[in-house]
Point group: C2
């Protein structure tokens, strides 16, 4: 296992990989109960285990390059990843954040329609698409699940387009916080939930189609209005989820 430090600009190092193809390792995977894997049978999982490869990634590693040939699918097992699309001049739109259980690679035809970079140390599970195709032949249910996953992502993408095209800065930030809440807690949200946001302001800005300054100002304003409370290490306590919801103009 070597470090391949191919620097590109200042930004992040390219990725390197590690370790073990193993039978039935999926059974004891930390995301066995989440996302795609939670919907698969034991036999299906065993088949997947045989073609999967676990990969350890440090922070700020690009492991999917935009428009590169799409050779792999990934499943995030720990940490968090940002997905993005960018312009030649460097402007960038983050299209989503992917945490444990999130499946990556559906937004690809021959090549990836997005790039992926870790925002903290993470682990992912990697499958070659060729291997994957062979398995889906055998287990049609797997393909059905992928389609369901893709459908879900399309719905989310539609909502994000609405946000980017039509919401104000405040509405965007409110929507973002509520989105994170749902990600962390599901539908049942506690009284004063605490959020841990691994991404930096700049990433939030790139996700919401804003600038860092605007995100910062908006969060400051929410703080002043007692809607949120910032703690240390990027944690935020949501003091008034209802007021945020009113702000966010949620569709659902």
């Amino acid at each position: 296992m070597r470090m391949q430090t191919e620097a590109l600009q200042i930004r992040p190092r390219r990725y390197i990989l590690s370790e073990r193809p193993d039978t039935s390792a999926c059974q004891m995977c930390e995301v066995r109960g989440r996302g795609l894997c939670s919907t698969l049978s034991d036999t299906e999982l065993d088949a997947l285990a045989l073609i999967s490869e676990r990969v350890k990634l440090s922070s700020a590693q690009i492991f999917i390059e935009e428009d590169a040939p799409a050779r792999y699918f990934y499943n995030v097992t720990s940490g968090m990843v940002k997905l993005y699309r960018s312009l030649p001049d460097g402007r960038r739109q983050i299209t989503g954040f992917a945490g444990p259980g999130h499946f990556l690679g559906l937004a690809a035809v021959k090549t990836y329609g997005f790039g992926a970079e870790t925002i903290e140390a993470s682990r992912v599970c990697r499958f070659s698409r060729a291997d994957f195709a062979r398995i889906t032949q055998q287990y049609p249910n797997l393909e059905r699940r992928l389609l369901a996953e893709a459908s879900h992502e399309l719905v989310i993408a539609n909502d994000q387009m609405l946000l980017l095209g039509r919401k104000t800065a405040r509405e965007r930030v409110a929507s973002f916080l509520l989105g994170r809440l749902e990600e962390d807690f599901g539908r049942v949200i506690p009284e004063m939930p605490q959020l841990h946001l691994p991404m930096i302001r700049n990433d939030i800005a790139d996700f919401l189609g804003l600038t860092v300054e605007t995100v910062s100002r908006t969060l400051s304003w929410m703080r002043k209005e007692n809607m949120i409370l910032s703690g240390r290490d990027h944690s935020i306590t949501i003091m008034a989820p209802d007021r945020l919801e009113a702000l966010a103009q949620l569709t659902l």
Copy 2:
């Protein structure tokens, strides 16, 4: 065949339907060679024909309502449809335009994640999802094609998010025109191609996250710069595709 004129606000009438479940009607369908259907075998098409229903729609008819239970898939066979997502206060984001061959309904889980309204008289082919599910069991290839379709839509959605979050008004309009070009001509674009745009300015604005005025001003500016030439009945001649491309900041 009746007209069901259930007015909602001023805007569009609800939809009504017509006619004929028929065996092997797909074989002679006008979109046999386009989109999903072009990738299916004759036997697969025959199976589809049995569960399909052709529907005639006049202009400005909403035939998919946002968040309604997703009971049907559709395939546009003629005309053009706009897909959108909107906020309670009426702000609206058009997420795409669908012409002949376009498959509708993938962006849905239990309910549709979008609404659909015709922008001109159109015809669509309708399948119940339940029927469809039965057929995909029998023909796994069909499901594979749907997944490919969904993947493609996800890539497009990513690009649209980049446009909405990060491009300027001029870049957006240029990207839109080029997108339409590709839609109409494929990859090989003539010297001075002529575009027919069935959608009105307001729809373009809602698609690009702008206002009508900005779209109008931007097109006027392009006209002044001799990049385009407006004809009658919503046709536009692209005088300088290369200059538009430079403006659009295309990723691919």
